[in-house]
């Protein structure tokens, strides 16, 4: 092989290799000491933040940096770490950066993304997660969870005693919680499966709301929607103060006594109009709590488990 040709060939191969490396992103492999109850803050613009519990008092960070990333910042000490993916100034778009962390289960986690998905598994400490368009999926043992998104879906499976989730159009799924729960969405659906619920507040504008609940004796429940459908599944009608009202939707119940006491709020004398279906049901219970279901045009459906 003559020299000029081999030089060109090797240069070309080197360039191809460099391009391939850049396109695939730069690998990350970092380890830091981390206390079991430390606070960890992670932010990523696009891609993934994945946090998993392990048995070591260390933080291990692996994954890949998108080619556009200026640098990965890791600051702090064993009491608290901040991890931030930094893009060049004025850069608005980026390829995906994948951050995979392994941390002690008891850490307090704060994760923030723009279009990055956020996933956590096995953690026991409190979690705050927010993403604009990324999905948030938490399968954890944490008691306290807060999650917010604009269009990303939020799914929390955890024995929470205090969970709070808010979205604009993202769907919300909460499973395994008890105690206090709050969920809000504009057009996203909300599904909740919970036991020993002491406090539940849920709202939507058009998103459907679905609940599979076992209520505490003094539970305070407030569910409100404008045009979404509310479906509540219960083992029995709770012995609480009940107040169910829909302005123009329908009120259906698997509990016979509810149907017998329901009255049409828009029927006047003999002038019945089937198109005007507004209904209101009230009943005082022996328990201290309240259950308040309210809609404008959405149906309210009570199902028996």
């Amino acid at each position: 092989m003559n020299k000029p040709f081999s030089t060109i060939l090797f240069s070309g191969l080197a360039l191809l290799a460099a391009n391939a490396w850049a396109a695939e992103g730069r690998p990350i492999n970092e380890t830091r000491p981390l206390k079991a109850d430390a606070r960890v803050s992670v932010s990523n613009v696009s891609g993934l933040i994945e946090v998993e519990a392990w048995g070591k008092n260390e933080m291990q960070l692996t994954g890949t940096l998108a080619p556009e990333v200026e640098k990965l910042i890791i600051e702090g000490d064993a009491n608290g770490l901040t991890i931030e993916v930094k893009l060049p100034r004025h850069s608005r778009r980026s390829g995906d950066t994948i951050l995979k962390l392994k941390v002690p289960a008891g850490i307090e986690l704060e994760a923030e993304g723009v279009s990055a998905d956020i996933r956590a598994k096995g953690l026991k400490g409190p979690i705050e997660a927010s993403s604009v368009s990324g999905d948030i999926t938490l399968d954890v043992a944490s008691a306290r969870v807060e999650a917010q998104s604009v269009s990303g879906d939020v799914a929390v499976t955890a024995p929470t005693t205090d969970v709070r989730v808010e979205t604009v159009s993202g769907d919300v799924t909460l499973r395994g919680g008890k105690g206090e729960m709050r969920s809000e969405s504009v057009s996203g659906t909300v599904k909740v499966e919970a036991r020993e619920v002491r406090r539940l507040d849920a709202e939507s504008v058009s998103g459907d709301l679905s609940f599979d609940l076992q209520l505490a004796r003094d539970a305070e429940v407030s569910i409100e929607t404008l045009s979404g459908e509310v479906v509540v599944t219960l083992p029995s009608l709770p012995d609480l103060d009940l107040d169910f009202e829909t302005f123009s939707g329908d009120l259906e119940s698997a509990f016979g006594e509810l149907v017998s006491e329901t009255h049409s709020r828009t029927h006047h004398d003999d002038d019945e109009d089937d198109d005007e279906r507004g209904k209101h049901y009230r009943r005082h219970g022996a328990g201290k709590g309240h259950m308040h279901l309210q809609s404008f045009s959405g149906d309210i459906v009570l199902k028996k488990k």
Binding site: S43, K86, R89, V114, S151, R164, V168, S169, E184, Q294
Partner: protein, 148 residues
């Protein structure tokens, strides 16, 4: 070390570089220097932080306002202080184009719902349910508008 490339020349002291450096100053000069230093932070980092922080603050404010204004007769949570600064920074930080479009679409939906509620209130002005729903809807509309 920060390098002055001359762009901030108006802040330089004439003849400073000709002073001798072998003699210590007679007083502590640091307080004067410190007060003239400007913090240097990445605008992008600030933008990202503001976006993330405002997402939390803005939605927390939305949620708190909605709960507070719901007026459904049930006891509410201890209302955390509403953070108008957080809501402003949400607006200032800006969303991506896609997210902005989603928020706008949802805002239109809320506005339409508000019109329907007002129409229903004209027919049934004493309905506490309608008033409560309207209060929630107005609060949500303000919160979504603040995000844009």
């Amino acid at each position: 070390m920060n390098i002055d490339n001359g762009k901030e020349g108006s802040d330089r002291i004439e003849g400073l570089d000709r002073l001798t450096r072998t003699r210590a100053p007679s007083r502590d000069l640091w307080p004067g220097i410190q007060s003239r230093l400007k913090p240097r932070r990445s605008r992008y980092a600030l933008g990202q932080l503001a976006l993330a922080a405002s997402l939390v603050a803005g939605m927390a404010a939305t949620f708190t306002l909605t709960l507070r204004d719901a007026g459904n007769g049930l006891p509410t949570y201890d209302a955390a202080s509403i953070d108008p600064v957080g809501r402003q920074s949400f607006a200032a930080a800006g969303l991506t184009d896609d997210s902005r479009a989603i928020v706008k679409a949802n805002l239109n939906m809320v506005r339409q719902a508000e019109r329907q509620l007002r129409k229903a209130l004209r027919e049934d002005p004493n309905s506490p349910t309608l008033r409560s729903l309207l209060a929630s809807t107005e609060t949500r509309q303000r919160a979504l508008s603040a995000m844009l």
